[in-house]
């Protein structure tokens, strides 16, 4: 979900996604290779993102991932589910 979210503002490469997550979460979320790349492959397999080779900021070859329509739908669905869960968890935490 986080990866999909980070792609909503346009295509990024793997490193870019990791950096983005790290920056936004203020260093709380430090995603390593071992979870990032399997996750990306899973997204590709489900057709939620597509990948394309392009030039990076420093002019090197990098694979850019882009959200597909299916990916956007999935993100919206996961968002709703996430909100529901958060609300539920908060309710439990506040009254227990």
């Amino acid at each position: 979900m986080l990866i999909l979210r980070s792609l909503t503002r346009g295509a990024r490469h793997g490193y870019g996604i990791a950096q983005h997550l790290k920056k936004i979460s203020e260093d709380v979320l430090d995603v390593g290779e071992s979870s990032l790349y399997p996750a990306l492959q899973r997204l590709l397999l489900n057709g939620w993102v597509t990948a394309e080779w392009g030039a990076s900021e420093n002019n090197r070859r990098a694979r850019y991932y882009k959200l597909t329509t299916a990916g956007r739908k999935q993100l919206a669905a996961e968002n709703r589910e996430f909100d529901r869960m958060i609300v539920a968890i908060q309710k439990v935490m506040s009254c227990a």
Binding site: G14, Y15, Y37, P38, R63
Partner: protein
Amino acid sequence: MRLIRRILYFLRRRRQAAELAEEMEFHRQMLEQESGDPHAANRRMGPAMLASEDARGVWLPLRFDSVLQDLRVGFRMLRRSPSFSILAILCLTLGIGANAAVFSWIEGILFRPYPLVAHQERLLAVTGTARGEAGHTDTSWPDLLDLQKSCTLIDSFIVNKIMGTTLSLGDRAERTIGSIVSANYFDAIGVHPILGRGFEPGEDTGRNAHPVTVISYQLWQSRFKRDPAIIGKTQRLNGIEHTIVGVAPEGFLGTFVGWGMQFWVPASMEETFEGGGYKLEDRGARWIEAYVRLKPGVTLEQAQQEMSAVAKRLEIDFPATNRGRGIKLWPLWQTPFNNAGTLLPTLGIMLAVVVFVLLIACANVGNLLLVRSFARRHEMTVRVAVGADRSRLLQQLVVEGLILSALAATGGLLVAHWCRHALVLLFPARAGVAMYLPGEIDLRVLALSAGVCLISTLLLGLVPAIQTRKIDLASALKSEMSGVVGGGHGKSWIRSGLVVVQVSLSFLLLVGAGLLTQSLKRVRSASPGFSTQGVLFTAVDLRSAGYDPQRAKNFQDDLLERIQALLGVESAAFARGTPLSYGNFSSSPIAVDGYQPPPDEQPTVQYNEVGPGYFATVGIPLLSGREFTVADNEAAAPVTVVNDVMAAQYWRGDDPVGKRLQVKGQWRQIVGVAKVSKYQSVRENPKPFFYVPLRQDFSVGAGLNIRTRMPAETIAAALAHEVHALDANLAPYEVITLQEQMDRSTSPQRVAVTLLGVLGGLALLLATVGLYGVMSYTVSQNARELGLRMALGAGASNLLRLVMSHGLTLTAAGVVLGAAAALASTRLLGNLLYKVSPRDPLAFGSALIVMTIAAAAACFVPAWRATRTDPARILRD
């Protein structure tokens, strides 16, 4: 969608992997740049190999690439220990080969028995039934025509009746078999003659109206030298010139399981070949073996319902001939009137037996793998230690099992291919009859064999897998270092268990083989009710030679006179039917004074037409009255002799001599009562039967029985001379003893015994090898303990006893299990057993003895080796 993406990924997996690697490398370099520390990336990202393997694993959960890798490793392992590989593959080849061979026989004999015949899956056999009688009867031509008219679910009715003739071409005369068929025969079964035509509609009507024949490819090739202008030429068959109208394609052998047909004639020529009068208009004459082809989508049950309804109507319309008569459909593999029926129980048992053999082979190979997996323990432990997934190890073991079983399956199919025609060899040869019982290796057999291969793979992979599941890292690494194989208890339990399974299965097979051998012995020594020794049987084919009844009678009289003058001949008599042969006896509806048959039932009894002195010649005792004499001829009053079973059934034990019996509408006086004997099968129950004088119901095709103390060869030569002297164009058939005749009729039992004997021996061998393997392994593993015992003063005999008792305990456990299984299952041998209890103590006892001897031999060598342990060396090591 996901599947398509997966496949696309698989097709480009190399490029995809390279791209992933490049991408991750880029990631690493960026991290390095950012932090300026070359190791930061490794610290933060973990082992790159694992990460990229995980990422690739998303796409291909089955890990095709790793499977390929395992295949390579597996082959390397096999090459490294060739003796293990050869032994394992050999065991499995025998197991899978035996299965494939039996599959191919079942396919070729029971399910797809007729080469070149289209849509055999919709072909069913048709017979009649008679109320109050078990089994089946043949069918009559008018009944079949009516069924054909009324049944809507049937595509076509195919009439097929096997018969034989003597085919003479030039100076060679040979026995040949052919079929009387309906005119639609070739069209209905989808076989198109390569030369000429099949039969035309209407050629199966009219008495002897269409003397045409289609010959087999083989006959065309061997007898007619592939004459391209054969069509239109004539061939004398049973004294009548037949025009050859077609040549069947190569490989087409007709529709009779077991025997290849050489020629076909239309049903209109039935009288020429069958004898017993013109039967196409006689509803009561049941002589036809028929098939039907169902319309697509129709089930046997639906067709049977429709047929039974029509048969019911025929019962009402024609009570005189059809009262109590039904029609029954059979799947091809149950066809009761050819060798499918006789081989069905044998093949069924064989199927079970080869599955056992396969299990034993798998257990053996499993044990071998287990031994090897100890050697590979280190490898596995290290792999687990560096982070290998257990499922990944399991995968490798399964792949290795697959290599073994795939190689063995290939070998097994070769074995099956070689054994294709092996069944025929088990049947006794008969002059002039080409037995044909082919195995058929088609897609279904291949698929089944692949399934067997797959199952054995799983079984094989499972055994060492149970073991890897138990790898306990710390202790395994430790024990590896100390050089002692620890934790042996769990594994030796598996190994012992496998041996017990092998022993019990082979014990079961030995018991089965023992029972069948006993049964065969009983069958062979059973008294058939006539003399088997000192009576010879032969025939002279007068019908093929075109003799009319009067000429045949003269010939028979002359020949009898000459034979009885031969040295050593006591008596001789002609008879139409021979006991225990394929040819049917005549049968007739009967009526008896004072006997009221149950309603809806028309008592029908089989009978034989026999010449004067027949009973004395073949040795059937007469209980009262007299035997037929020369005086019982055409001019004399009609007489008959009944057997004692018939007397008891219809005259309730009174002596029927002097009473009368109606046969074919004619009253005959009973002049004698004969003791019951075996008529069609040694294993039949005593049944009513009667005899009429040959002269009063004459048949040109009668066989000759000779009572003599001379050997068959001597009589054969003398007989050939006498026959030749009477008619230079005639030659007698082979001369055989009635014992030989009986042996031929029991060949299905002998086939079962031979096959089960071979497979039981195979199983015993495999089990012995397995036991031997386990015992030698135990001895080598316990060398230290044995050495210690020796050092402490144990003698060679103590050690011998120790090891032997271990092995024999395993054997005993196997025997107990096997005996229990045998007690529960030998009943299934059912009708293959003749006068032998399925719990026959002799069979169990001899199986026990054989098993014990084999086990003792298997244990003795390792035990003896144990006594040769050098305690000094063992303790030093």
